[in-house]
Structures are given as structure tokens and as C-alpha cells.
Amino acid sequence: MEKILGKTQIDGWIAALSGYEILAPAVEDGIWAYKPVNGEVRLDHGNTTQPPKGLSFPQREVFFSFEQIKGEPPRLTQKLPDAPRRAVFGVRPCDGCGAVRMDKVFNDHVVDNYYQARRSNVAYVGLACNKPQGSNCFCLSVGGSPVSSEGMDVLMTDLGDRYFVAALTETGKALMAAGGKLFSEPAAADRKLLEQTHAEAVAHPQRAVNNLDTVPAKLKASFNSPLWEELARACIGCGVCTFLCPTCHCFDINDENTSASPLKGNRVRTWDNCQFPDFTMHTSGHNPRESLGSRLRQRVSHKFRYFPENFGMPQCTGCGRCITECSVGIDIVTVVNKVTEHAG
């Protein structure tokens, strides 16, 4: 289903989406974030600081509660999320691709009940990038594109005073159908402008990871290179790169007690991070990844070598957040290019 929506009509479309909680980009505390729509919808954001992954994979997820009752086995009460139906507007193609990769992890081998409950209720209404949103975008060199519809239910393209709106899934079609007569049929001129806009977007220069298809083998060859420690020298071992990454999914599971006697509490999942010093620490004290270099190598290798080996696609979508937000200049494009260049 492909339609045209005048820019003045977008608030009307959103108002017609009853039964959905609508999220759209908004500035709060100086950063862009997805917020419930309050009045006008803004789509003039570059990209949000945090990707929309938190809607399906929140920082905190309660798996179940446990309660110790005297003389009885502990009572477990599972807490599957009652996830509201949501439509997120303004999702950039790099984040749509990010959702596809998150889905792979949480559906592989066994389906993650909690992720699935939330994800199945999140619809992505994407907005193509007519030009790179930041100086650190590199989606094209990692198999993506500023106009990609991967992971989207609907993809909008800005044609100036109107949007070209295309549904990619049944959910997308239903969302557009709710807008009814607000949409009009695209004319030949609209399609021509769409093609031109997309072509210009893709032709726009970006940063680039060099020769993506050679990267896995070169990462393998450079496993023991001293370059990793050198490249990680400034790293402070925080969680910014991973927590803001649209595809990073590592987590921890802990029991958080609310009462000691009688014992009550919740088994909780929280975001975790392979850059934290204790991520791989064994109970015995042995830490297979003790150095910052080995942890940088792990993150980069997981994105560009291990994940591709398992799923046939890189686990980096070129959004550039880790580069922009790293406070000490660790730059994944530079890292990959330096390592692969060094590998010869």
C-alpha cells in the first residue's frame, strides 16, 4: 500500500490511531527521545540518543516474583508484560535494521517470552533519511541504507510538503487504513520525486567501514594483534556505547529481594555490558577478558565477525551513536578500518 500524506495531515493520522500509544521524537533535557505524543508531532529530529530497542527490551524486566511461605515450596508468579500496542514514529532506517537484529537474537534457539510480548505490540513507522543525520553515519557500508525499509511496518519519505508513505507489513497496512481519506493516491510525479530523493540520499557521502566482506577474516587474523590494546587505551569501560547501540542485547539476571523474612522478591533482567570489567568474571576469580583491549575486540568481533557467521548479516547498522557519544573518542569505524588494514 503506497500513499501520499500531506505534512499538515500527520497530526490527523495520529489522532485516528485509537488503540495505539503513539510515540514520536521530542526534545527533553537537551536530547531527542521517543516520547508519548503531546500535541504536534515533530519529525525534524536527526536521530534519538537512545534507539527504540528499550520498548521491546527495557532496562528492567521482571521475570517472576517469588515468595517463601512457611512449610510450602516457594510460590513463583510469572510476570509476563501486559505490553500496550504502540506505534513509534520517526524511526530511522538504521534503527529499523537494529530491530531485525534484536529479533534474531531473541527468537533464535528458543523464543524469549518477554521480548516477544513487547515486540509483537510495537509498530515502527519509519522516516527515511534524505541525507545522513549526523557526521558519524555509516549505514551504507554495513549493508544498510538511509532509505531502507528493513524492520519497518511503514516507511515514510519526506518529499518537501508531503510524505510518501509505504506499508511493508499487515500492521503497517492497518495503520495506514486508519488514516482513511487523509491519504491520497501517489501521482507519477510523486513516484518520480521519491525515486530522486532516495537516489540522492544514497549518493550522499558518509563515513565508511572499508570492504565489509573482508572484515570477518581480517578480524580473525588479527585476534592476537597488540593493536587492540592500543586502540582501547583511552577507553573508560563504561556502558555508553553498548546501552545506546540499537543491536546490543547483553543482559544480567538477578534476584532482587523486597523482604528478607519471609523471603519475597523478583527475578529481574537488567541491561548488561561486555565492556564492564566483571562481565566475564568467573566465580573463581578467573577473567577471560580482563583487559580493555580484549573487551573492545570482543565488541567489534561480535558485531562484525561472530554475529555475521551465525546470522549472515553484520550486527552493526551504522547509526554512529557509539562514536558520537563515546566521551573519549573510541571510534568503531576507525577501529575496524585500522585493524583490517593492519591485517594486510
Partner: protein, 274 residues
């Protein structure tokens, strides 16, 4: 697999045996389901045991899949959850979810000689293969068990090992001999080299401290074992057990799903990050 992959089943501790005491105590626990049946497993697979309010830990299932009534675990007291486990009593209820991981390809080994090489608490993860092979004795040729620990006091499954003599050639060793010790004195890998098991139509299965595994593999190679004939089971810190949380990731594998059982031919291809 249950409907909710993170929700454990409840299991009652029905048997506790102190294998060795002291600082690095090992206790063997048997658990039976509180309600209904318990999942089936294959040799080498693990389960996540929960102490509610403390946490979970991934432990190899030490009982043979042929035993349906209970699951056996031998747990060393090293950390937060295991220390709490050691304070539990018969009748206490814990959580269990599983089975996780891959298994030893025991069916491929029928008709072969089996050489087991265990050290310390590393005997437990390979114990299901030993006991299953002995239970199906006619399916296998020679069965040899090399097992060693620091001292005679640190050997676990002593009575069970004695019962195996006759069905299997039991070769015990201690690092440091004590009065009355009649068997080999020295490290487990040295004992293996000393007794020279033949690689002909043989599979070697080893588990123990990393340093022991390293030298065992070296010595087996010296004896002519090919990399495909050597199997081990590795450890890594685990949280979900389901290939999602990323903690046990080594190379392209999550050890909890693609491992923990590996042949040396497979394992040597992975980065040494375990």
C-alpha cells in the same frame, strides 16, 4: 522446554552427601520434581539451579539420563549461590530449569574404547557418560577412568568408583601422596602418559581444572590421539543459559547452547576466552 523459558520448575532436595570438606567443599545433591515429572537430558547437558533470593548457577547434570527419578549435581562451594546451596538441607526446595547445552555424542562411540580423564570436581560433568557406558556395558569396548585430586581426601565419588572396578579400569592418582596411598602419585596428565592408553578406536573424554585439561590434551596428542578423538566440556560464566544474554559468548558460539561439550578439533578453533 517450558512455556516460559526463564521460569524454573520446583525441585526438592532428596539427598545430600558431603564428598569433601574444608575450604573448597564439594557436596552431591539429588533433586526430585515437586510437581509432576522432570525434563529428560543427555550426557553433558547442564541445568540452572535456583536458590530463590540468591540467584542461579549453571551446573552439569552428573546423573545418567537413564535415571528418571532424580537429577544429581556435585557442587563445589566457590561463590554466592553455591555457598548458599551448601547450607540447604534435605527437603528444601530449589528451582531448576534445563536441560541446556549440547551433549556428548555417546551414540557415535558405541563399539569404541572409552578413556575418561577427570580431575577434582571435573569428574562430575563426565560422570553421566561413565555411568551410562557402564550401564550399557556391552555396547562399549574397554572403559578406563583416570581420576585424580590433590590428596586422597579430595577424591570424590570414592565408593562409586570402587563399584565400577570390574566393569572399568580405574586409575586413581593424587598430587601428593599420604600414608597408605597405594596408587599413582603425581598429576593426572602424568598418570595418563604413564599408563599409555592406546588411541586405536578410542575416544578420550576429559574434564577438570583448565591447566589439567591443557596438559591432558598435550599428553594424549603425544600418545597419538587425533584432535577429533579428544572431547572436553568447558566452563564459562553463564546467566540465561539460552544463548541470549551474551555472557558466555566465545567466538561465534554461546557456550550454553553450542557447548559446553567440544571436541578438541572444534575447541581449538575458538578464541581462548573461557
Amino acid at each position: 522446554m517450558p512455556d516460559n523459558i526463564y521460569l524454573p520448575e520446583l525441585a526438592r532436595i532428596t539427598h545430600i552427601k558431603e564428598e569433601i570438606g574444608g575450604e573448597r567443599a564439594i557436596k552431591t545433591f539429588r533433586v526430585e520434581p515437586v510437581d509432576g515429572g522432570i525434563f529428560e537430558h543427555d550426557c553433558g547437558q547442564c541445568a540452572m539451579l535456583s536458590v530463590f533470593g540468591r540467584g542461579e548457577m549453571m551446573i552439569s547434570i552428573a546423573s545418567s539420563p537413564l535415571i528418571r527419578e532424580y537429577k544429581q549435581f556435585s557442587i563445589m562451594r566457590v561463590g554466592r549461590v553455591s555457598a548458599t546451596f551448601h547450607e540447604l538441607e534435605v527437603g528444601d526446595v530449589v528451582g531448576i530449569r534445563g536441560p541446556y547445552g549440547n551433549s556428548f555424542p555417546v551414540d557415535d562411540w558405541r563399539g569404541k574404547n572409552l578413556v575418561f580423564i577427570g580431575g577434582g570436581v571435573g569428574l562430575a560433568p563426565i560422570w553421566p557418560v561413565i555411568t551410562t557406558a557402564v550401564a550399557q556395558r556391552a555396547d562399549f569396548k574397554n572403559i578406563t577412568v583416570f581420576y585424580g585430586a590433590r590428596s586422597p581426601r579430595d577424591l570424590m565419588y570414592k565408593a562409586e568408583l570402587e563399584r565400577l572396578r570390574g566393569d572399568a579400569d580405574i586409575q586413581l592418582s593424587v598430587d601428593k601422596a599420604e600414608e597408605g596411598w597405594k596408587e599413582y602419585c603425581g598429576f593426572v596428565p602424568a598418570n595418563v602418559l604413564d599408563k599409555k592408553p592406546s588411541p586405536n578406536n578410542t575416544i578420550a573424554i576429559t574434564c577438570g581444572p583448565p591447566i589439567m585439561i591443557k596438559f591432558v590434551i598435550q599428553n594424549l596428542q603425544k600418545l597419538g590421539f587425533a584432535d577429533e578423538q579428544i572431547y572436553t566440556t568447558i566452563e564459562n560464566k553463564m546467566k540465561c543459559g539460552l544463548g541470549k544474554c551474551g555472557r558466555c559468548n566465545v567466538g561465534k558460539d554461546y557456550v550454553c547452547t553450542k557447548g559446553p561439550v567440544y571436541s578438541w578439533a572444534e575447541l581449538k578453533e575458538l578464541p581462548e576466552e573461557y
